[in-house]
Subunit: 551 residues, 2 copies
């Protein structure tokens, strides 16, 4: 039986003092993330998290830990991910949790866990934090997929411990957290060996796991801890992180949540249930933000770009998990544009400072989270808007942008140095590059434009979709929203997933495009979720029953 | 109600004298493919093919026509695709046909129509045949997707005719024949304009269609035919096709079909219904094949590589549409390897001859058809096999290859110049490059190897998966087949779709990966195919009813 997936209002707010499933410890440049899942502390009570299996709650803590290492511990240069349990590293996503979850929850659960693993790879690629998976026991499915997100995978050689992707042979689904893609595209395992590996429930261990490129080394139990420490130290030595900096504490966001709104300091999300829309508003800082490293660090998590995008990130997750019927999001940005322009100048000038670097990458990841959120986004650009520079990326991330061309009221948008290359999408291109695939000259043209764009300039530059005048504005916007609201939510999800990511594909787009789309398909098939499907049948008596027709 | 999708044994065998829906005419270097669908000649009788809408039967004729232009009319350098009906170009795939088809049929129908459109693009890219879509009336959905496959799209300006993708607004599904991908990735339409275009049922016409890059030109009705002829002539002038060559007639394959087998001259497919497996055997030529252009042309469609791969192509389509419960295909290649080696030498030496070029590209497309067939393929390489050069691509296309290492019987495989670059996969890489993404040096190493590989050499070179000895062979092969047969067919389909295409993505892999996978998902959703879903509700009274939850 499918149950409502989660409590009415799931929250992503946590910190190490509240972790139930992970122990995060620090030893100079090396942090250790020890997995020790509490069986009885799942988000629902219809499953137990045995064998370090995980649910969304476990992954929320993992995502939080990786984020805090980046912001709160600039001295950390390598992270060891391991298990604190005996003979088990991680058994993967909890099968009974999946079996009891709605389709929408399964899909969003996988999307979030994918984003968490990509955040690990982002920390490695952009932040000088390398990850070592120290596999000290059973490592199956999502457990191995977590290891795949690390830079190095070390496997204990105890004659027993294997890595495996048992989803296909045991559950009739795919390893849905990037496993198949990372096996052939990141670790470049030969496709026939990947085929064997992905179909044998018991997995592969020992020398063969190294030969097949599934792990980097197998190490006898006696020398395992020492080898892990050595590899972590060697990877840490490659880092450019500062040795003496003070971390920035990420304090709780504490939004005010009412039935129809969630309000933060610089962000609010207001629901209109009748129209199935939400208004997402970002507000510029009221006063000048700090512009020197010392002042920025002193401002800490209240530095506006970090504060605003942390709030935006949280609002997007709230929307995904708690407001599934809201189909269209109206995006607005308001306040004093001069402050936004000034912040962009600071971000650009101070980008080499470790904390500013982290802020920029956090903004980048939040924008990607928006790209990957399966709701329609329409930007409404009205007088006194602050869609400028970094905030104009929000408009670029929207499916459409409407800009009011008022005869009497000035209304402008602007670009900044931050639109050049700071916020690549999952496809590796900037939003401007993706937008102008057919007219690449327009990217440089737009970036070279002096000062803000009025509606007609913005239209000519291709930066907005439409510029209705004040007579047409209300009707045109209302009609666009009404028309959108009448369309099949599934067709929109598929359509947007195809139109948003033109251009090159990357490991990341392959995971969200090819792999996730196939997994979503399988997550609906009777062979997986029917009464006798493999996912439902797991752990019960008897074998699953399949319709043998190949599609 | 879903009906059994097609007659028990659908055939892909046709020729222009039997076409019911297209008129193929020739005028020197220009061929015209005129669409004139017979309403009452659908493959099933529960729908009528109104307004040049199409079903699989219409597309089988289109695929046949494109193929015949390549082989039978080497003088053709440009093809005009247009409609012979008044005020309608093509209304797309027939909705009542889709609504009444099983999920598996819908998916395989879309796969075939995608392959047909990619064959048009292949003819343009590799064969010197350019395509002009002359849109002389209503052009919706699959009609516009057909135009998108052409090199140029000319739209009549009659004040009425628009191009449109009404699938999302009217049917709650995606334009599933490459439409979304080609709009943003081939024609590089800006994503926000593509969003608008894909959600307005009435489409876009006139100047806006050009400005949005949806078509190349709009032309007044009075000058339309002349403009089309001019563009076709201009494109034809870029071609390198021979002016005076004689075409090669493609005669019927005439397989012998019994309940459990389909047998051609060089290919046979034998079904084992209990094990849900099929044995696909390719046989080498019995005697020496011609090796000079004159002799090859004189041999015509009986030239072994063309004959064998036409048969293989037909067998794969038979498998897809008529044998849906057969999960694993055992691939064998038998006969006199010397003949296969000699044929490869001829193909390589004569590759610049127009007919040999066509043969090589046909082999390439057939191998891609195999890559994209959602069944498991295991190559069994036994003594007297002919897995050499071109035929070794078959083993490389398989999910696994088992090679018998017999102490007394010689068993070898071999590569040839044809493995270098002649048969790229959909991802743009050769099968050897894809196989050795992690160890690129092995590609050159394998190609530089002198003479054939015995089992241990093949294993060391990474060209096969396993080399069991004669004591283990029977058990190991039997066990692999039994294990495969026990797995969820859906999970295998998704798994293989992810493992087979490592490396770069192309327009082609995006269509089959991202777009098709999402379409398959939507094709199962109650919002599309439920009793009140949009696809089922189309043409009935009342609006579809949606579950508004976004996934």
């Amino acid at each position: 039986m499918e149950t409502s997936a989660v409590a009415p209002s799931l929250t992503f707010d946590t910190d190490p003092s509240r972790y139930q499933h992970w122990k995060l410890t620090y030893d100079g440049p090396i942090a250790t993330l020890g997995m020790d899942v509490r069986e009885d502390a799942g988000l629902r009570d219809d499953y137990r998290l045995k064998l370090n299996s995980y649910d969304l709650g476990v992954d929320i803590e993992l995502a939080d830990a990786v984020l805090r290492i980046r912001f709160e511990h600039p001295e950390v240069r390598a992270v060891v991910i391991t298990s604190l349990k005996e003979r088990v590293f991680c058994a993967g996503a909890n099968i009974f949790m999946l079996g009891g979850s709605s389709h929408g929850f399964k899909v969003n659960f996988c999307k979030f866990t994918n984003e968490t693993r990509l955040a690990i790879e982002d920390a490695s690629a952009n932040s000088g934090i390398k990850f070592v998976a120290a596999i000290n026991g059973i490592c199956a499915g999502g457990g191995y997929e977590l290891a795949l997100a690390c830079d190095e995978i070390l496997l204990v050689d105890d004659g027993n411990t294997a890595v495996s992707l048992p989803e296909t042979p045991l559950l009739g689904v795919l390893p849905g957290t990037g496993g198949l893609t990372r096996v052939v595209d990141k670790r470049k395992v030969r496709r026939d060996l990947a085929d064997v590996f992905s179909t044998v429930a018991e997995g592969v261990k020992g020398k063969r796991a190294v030969e097949w490129r599934l792990v980097d080394a197998v190490i006898p139990k006696s020398g395992f801890s020492q080898a892990v420490a050595q590899r972590a130290a060697a990877l840490a030595a490659t880092s450019d992180r500062p040795a003496q900096a003070n971390g920035i504490e990420l304090r709780p966001l504490n939004p005010r949540i009412t039935g129809d709104s969630i309000a933060y300091s610089a962000v609010s999300l207001t629901i209109d249930r009748d129209r199935r829309t939400a208004e997402l508003e970002l507000r510029a800082p009221d006063a000048a933000e700090p512009d020197t490293p010392d002042h920025i660090v002193a401002t800490g998590d209240q530095f506006w770009p970090l504060r605003a995008f942390r709030e935006l990130d949280d609002a997007l997750l709230h929307l995904r998990f708690n407001e599934s019927e809201i189909g269209t999001v109206i995006v607005k940005a308001t306040g004093d544009v001069a402050q936004v322009v000034a912040v962009d100048r600071t971000l650009d000038r101070q980008r080499d400072h470790w904390f500013v670097r982290e802020v920029i990458h956090f903004i980048k990841r939040t924008l990607k989270r928006l790209d990957l959120t399966s709701r329609s986004f329409f930007a409404l650009i009205e007088p006194d808007n602050v869609f400028s520079g970094t905030l104009f990326e929000l408009a670029l991330a929207c499916d459409r942008a409407y800009m009011l061309d008022h005869p009497d009221r000035a209304n402008t948008i602007g670009l900044s140095a931050m639109n050049r290359s700071s916020y690549p999408m999952s496809n590796g291109l900037t939003r401007l590059q993706t937008r102008f695939l057919g007219e690449p000259g327009k990217v440089l043209e737009a970036l070279a434009h002096e000062g803000p764009f009025d509606p007609q300039e913005a239209l000519a530059a291709g930066l907005i979709s439409f510029a209705p005048d004040d007579l047409d504005w209300d009707d045109e916007v209302r009609l666009a929203l009404e028309e959108r609201a009448a369309l099949s939510p599934d067709a929109l999800t598929g359509m947007e997933a195809n139109l948003r990511f033109a251009g090159p594909e990357t490991l990341e787009t392959k995971i969200f495009g090819r792999l996730s789309a196939w997994q979503n398909w399988i997550f609906q098939r009777p062979n997986a979720v029917g009464e006798h499907g493999a996912l439902k049948a797991y752990g019960r008596e008897g074998r699953p029953e399949f319709d043998w027709k190949r599609t």
